[in-house]
């Protein structure tokens, strides 16, 4: 028997390490027979901590959810049936199609043997011993794999360009972009934490294809666990000889090192990432020359995202056609999404490209938290946009999502309900891009600031006639006048919210109303007849704006109220409402 505790970042945050320690302590007193292991995140983040029990034949005999440390003994005694995953929650996984996440949550990411036992490094062996570099690129072309970092550029094309680039006798580089900077996206973190070898194998295959002997993983410093697991994985791969010199006796050598990023969203852009790798401020450079011609240290460099690399071993091992069997005509394969926000079942979702949005949100995600009304889904983060509930039939593929004004992006999918103010969301993203603009281009540096000022004015109840038009004008100019993707896409959250939720902008500006009851300047707190006169609200009001006798309905003096919301937080009867 084998017990596996899910220890991705979300599992750990939910107490998985404590559960593991409790299980270990109990098992220590029992004698052998039961192995205790850890794995990455299986994807049901909302059910963490998760403990899996495997029978001796390797089959999963039980999956316990919300398995906190105090239930460790019950799990070992078989007295934790109340924690067994429900059929509905199990369906969260069975409705998915898992290529990238094939091993996530199933294997121990700190043991290369488990990756190899699951077919790992077979693809690298096949590539090195049975295929030419051109053959590898052909296979990737046949698969239709496109960059999973956001832009959706065909992977084979980039590899081919890097392969054909003249290195002038110097080196070529294979770089993995693991700088997952999009707030609200965590696919890459989970892959790195749960299946780091898949990324290493993909990079080595890519290195062979383009003729690079050196790989660099540029990973966010905010992901300490991912960095540790990658370091362990690299050391084990070197020891096994699947990284290093003369891999599988092919004569091909490949090494990988890690470079921790230092926190800059713009470094997701290829040329900025390269500047950062070189120890500089991460500011984008003019293209051409493209990284494939002159990249890291002015040498031919290919950059792909974590998820793209994690797909590569599958494509090589199973063949491009097997991958292309999933998806739509132009968007092949699967895509991993990080489903979060106002959703019942948040977590990692991998589905074939082309599945309608509503199947992801309602089918897999179980619908909206607290059964509120679904308003919109944000895709592509600060570069993307908000897709309204009315377009929930939109298939999730590059072309269809781009048509809505959003982008597939790296895979963040934030669900919003009726309580989310769309003008505030636009303000939120502009606040982000304004801070993250590197400052090189005037339009991006100053334009995002001006847009933010207008949005702040609108949400503060000081919007004016003409503001929407000003935002639209600025948006077009920022898109045209910016060098890199950050500036070119920064206005998207504003443009999509204006396109689909213009009425909310107009309510803020002309009626001075926030229909989502979110923007503080535009709401009033009121006490309803549900008030029992418990006096808690009055006691907690910092400005003594609430008056009333014990056991009688209280009143808020609107002139004194500073809208801090403490009355609402403290009311046990839901009697304080926002209007």
């Amino acid at each position: 028997m084998r017990i596996v505790v899910g220890e991705g970042s979300c599992g750990v945050a939910s107490g998985a390490k404590k559960t593991e320690a409790a299980l270990a302590a109990l098992l220590a007193g029992r004698g052998g027979g039961i192995a205790l292991e850890k794995a990455g995140c299986v994807g049901n983040c909302y059910l963490e901590p998760i403990v899996d029990v495997y029978a001796d034949d390797g089959s999963l005999s039980a999956r316990y959810v919300h398995a906190t440390e105090d239930r460790a003994a019950d799990i070992l005694e078989g007295a934790a049936d109340d924690l067994l995953i429900s059929g509905e929650d199990a369906a969260f996984l069975t409705q998915q199609e898992r290529i990238v996440l094939r091993n996530a949550g199933l294997i121990n990411p700190e043991k290369i043997e488990e990756y190899i036992a699951a077919g790992g490094y077979e693809a690298l062996k096949k590539a090195l011993t049975q295929m030419t570099p051109e053959g590898v690129i052909e296979e990737i072309k046949a698969s239709g794999l496109r960059g999973r970092g956001g832009a959706g550029f065909p992977t084979w094309f980039k590899w081919d360009a890097a392969r054909n680039a003249d290195a002038g006798g110097g080196a070529k580089y294979m770089v993995c972009n693991a700088d997952e900077g999009d707030p609200g996206a965590f696919m890459d973190r989970s892959v790195l934490e749960g299946d780091p070898h898949a990324v290493l194998e993909g990079m080595a295959i890519g290195g062979y294809a383009i003729g690079a002997r050196e790989g660099v993983i540029y990973v966010r410093a905010e992901y300490p666990l991912a960095i540790v697991r990658l370091e362990t994985a690299i050391a084990q791969a070197e020891e096994k000889g699947v990284l290093g010199e003369d891999i599988f006796g092919s004569g091909f050598g490949f090494s990988i090192r890690i470079k921790a990023g230092a926190g800059a969203f713009v470094c997701g852009e290829e040329t900025a990432l390269i500047a950062s790798l070189e120890g500089e401020r991460g500011m984008p450079r003019l293209k051409p020359p493209f990284p494939a011609q002159k990249g890291f240290w002015k040498q031919p460099t290919n950059i792909n995202n974590v998820e793209t690399f994690a797909n590569v071993p599958f494509v090589i091992r199973e063949g491009g056609a097997a991958f292309a069997a999933f998806g739509t005509e132009k968007s092949k394969g699967t895509k991993v999404f990080a489903l979060a926000g106002k959703i019942k079942k948040g977590g990692l979702v991998e589905v074939p490209m082309g599945l309608p949005l509503k199947d992801v949100i309602y089918g897999i995600g179980g619908g909206i938290k607290n059964d509120r009304a679904f308003k919109a889904v944000q895709m592509g983060g600060p570069s993307g946009g908000c897709i309204p509930a009315a377009l929930a039939d939109t298939p999730v593929d590059y072309e269809s999502i781009t048509q809505t004004g959003a982008i597939v992006g790296s895979g963040g999918m934030i669900v919003m309900d009726e309580d989310t103010c769309m003008v505030d969301m636009a303000r939120y993203f502009l606040d982000f891009t304004r801070k993250e603009s590197c400052g090189k281009c005037n339009y991006c540096r100053i334009g995002t600031k001006r847009m933010l000022e207008i949005l702040e004015r609108i949400t503060a109840g000081k919007g004016e006639d003409g503001d929407i038009e000003k935002l639209e004008e600025l948006a077009v100019k920022i898109k045209d006048g910016s060098l890199c993707g950050l500036g070119q896409t920064a206005p998207n959250p504003v443009l999509t919210t204006i396109r689909y939720f213009r009425n909310e902008y107009e309510d803020h500006i002309f009626k001075k109303k926030c229909t989502a009851h979110y923007c503080k300047a535009l709401i009033r707190y009121e006490i309803t007849d549900a008030c029992k006169g418990c006096t808690l609200c009055a006691k907690n009001c910092p400005v003594d704006a609430i008056a009333g006798k014990v056991k009688e309905k209280h009143e808020i003096d609107q002139g004194l109220c500073i809208k801090c919301g403490k009355c609402e937080d403290n009311c046990k009867f839901g009697a304080v409402v926002r209007d």
Partner: protein
């Protein structure tokens, strides 16, 4: 002086492109990048101090001021924002009397509002970076975040006693 980063200097000072790594290791050793540390790195690497300052101020990870013993990394990613991170920040600020980037007078806590910690399904989230490592707390409420801070504070008090 700067003996703690001598091994780092020996390994990286002469390697092109290592400035960010050196700054990260220096901050790891001292908690922040002091002015004299920047001049020392300039002298050892030959990179002008002005350029080091430029790099240090470009990336959000680097701090030019000392930080508290515990860094409260409060996530304001999209999922956290949608799930009420603004209210959590207010509660922390009010509870400790500090704003984003500031440190409490007793040198115990620094509030650091960050873009995203990648634990979106547990939103709102906060990572506490202390001497014993990082710990992430999810599904925060105003009460819970206050309790987490008080618990750390109480632990520190009993340490002193």
């Amino acid at each position: 002086m700067f003996a703690e980063i001598e091994p780092v200097m020996e390994k990286y000072a002469g390697v092109p492109g290592s400035l960010i790594t050196i700054l990260q290791k220096t901050q790891e050793a001292y908690g922040y990048l002091a002015e004299d540390a920047i001049f020392y790195i300039a002298q050892r690497t030959g990179v002008p101090a002005s350029k080091i300052y430029g790099v240090a101020t470009f990336y959000t990870q680097f701090r030019l001021k000392p930080v508290g013993k515990y860094i409260l990394m409060l996530c304001k990613g999209t999922a956290c924002h949608v799930n009420g991170a603004a209210g959590i920040e207010e509660a922390v600020s009010e509870h400790l009397g500090i704003a984003d980037g500031e440190t409490t007078a007793d040198g115990l806590f620094t509030l650091d509002v960050v873009a995203c910690l990648g634990c979106c399904s547990l939103a709102p989230v906060m990572m506490v970076k202390g001497p014993a490592g990082e710990e992430t707390h999810g599904a925060l409420t105003k009460d819970r975040v206050r309790a987490i801070i008080d618990e750390i504070g109480a632990g520190e008090k009993s340490l002193k006693a």
